[in-house]
Symmetry: C2
Subunit: 150 residues, 2 copies
C-alpha cells in the first residue's frame, strides 16, 4: 500500500513553505532541500497554485508562499485531491470488470477501511506537520524560522 | 493508494474456497472464475499453504481447500502478511533517506492513518466476505453452494 510520490512531494512542499512564512521560496531550493526532482515539483507547484494553497509572485523578492494559513490546509483534503482515485484494488477503477462486483463485500470493507484512513488525515492540518519548527528548519538548513505571525 | 494485486488475488482465492466448503478446487478454475492469471495464483496458493490458510491434497478428488474455518481467517492478518512493508511514502522504506526524518510529523500521522485502516480490516473475517453465499456462488458460476457445516 503506497501513496503516490506526487502526494508525498505535495505535502513536503507545503511543509517547506509553512516553515518560512513571510518569505518566498523557489522550486530549486525546495528540490535541493529534500533531494527530489525539480521537474516533478514544477507540476506540483502548478497544481497547488490552482487550488490556492500556494501563491507565486514574480520579480525581485518573488517566489512561492503559502496562499493561506497552515492551520486551514487540511491533510485529508490535500490527499483526497492528490490521490483522486484511491483505487485500493483493481475493481475500484471501473465497475463491471470483476466477476463478483455486484455482491462483493470486500470492496465495501476496503472502502470502510479507506474512510478510517482519511478520517485520521482529516483531523490534522499543515500546521500540525510543522509543529517542531526549529528542528525541521535546522534539518532543512533554513534560516532561523520566523514565527507564523511575524 | 493501492493494495498490490497479490493481496487482491489472495483475498479472492480465499473467498472462492470459502464458498465451496467440503469441495476441492483447482488453480485453473479459480483463475477462470475471476479472469486472472494462473501463474500469479500459483505463487499465492503456495504462500497460503505455508501459513495453513489452505491445504492441498493430491490425487483423485484432490485440490485446494481452506485449511481452517473462514471465521478464523482475519482480514487484517492476511493483509499485513501480503503487504509486508506498508510503505505509504518512500521514507518508510529505509530511515535516513529523507532530510527531515528525525522530526517528521507526517510519517507519524500517516502511520496513525494506516493503523486506523488496518483496525477496520481486523474487525472482519473471511466469513464476512462470503456472507452473500448464494449470490456470490451464482456470479462465480459455482455449483449450488454447500453450507459451511455440510
Amino acid at each position: 500500500m503506497r501513496l503516490t510520490a506526487y502526494t508525498d512531494y505535495t505535502l513536503r512542499t507545503l511543509m517547506y513553505l509553512a516553515l518560512r512564512p513571510g518569505r518566498a521560496a523557489t522550486i530549486a531550493e525546495i528540490a535541493t532541500a529534500y533531494g527530489i526532482s525539480e521537474a516533478h515539483l514544477t507540476k506540483i507547484v502548478h497544481q497547488l497554485g490552482l487550488t490556492g494553497d500556494i501563491v507565486t509572485t514574480r520579480g525581485r523578492g518573488g517566489g512561492l508562499r503559502l496562499g493561506r494559513p497552515a492551520q486551514t490546509i487540511n491533510l485529508g483534503a490535500v490527499v483526497r485531491r492528490t490521490e483522486p482515485d484511491m483505487e485500493l484494488v483493481a475493481c475500484f477503477v471501473a465497475s463491471g470488470t470483476c466477476a463478483i462486483d455486484d455482491a462483493c463485500v470486500l470492496s465495501r470493507v476496503l472502502r470502510e477501511a479507506l474512510d478510517a484512513f482519511l478520517t485520521v488525515l482529516d483531523s490534522y492540518t499543515l500546521a500540525d506537520l510543522v509543529a517542531p519548527r526549529e528542528r525541521l528548519a535546522a534539518l532543512l538548513r533554513l534560516d532561523p524560522p520566523l514565527r507564523e505571525h511575524a
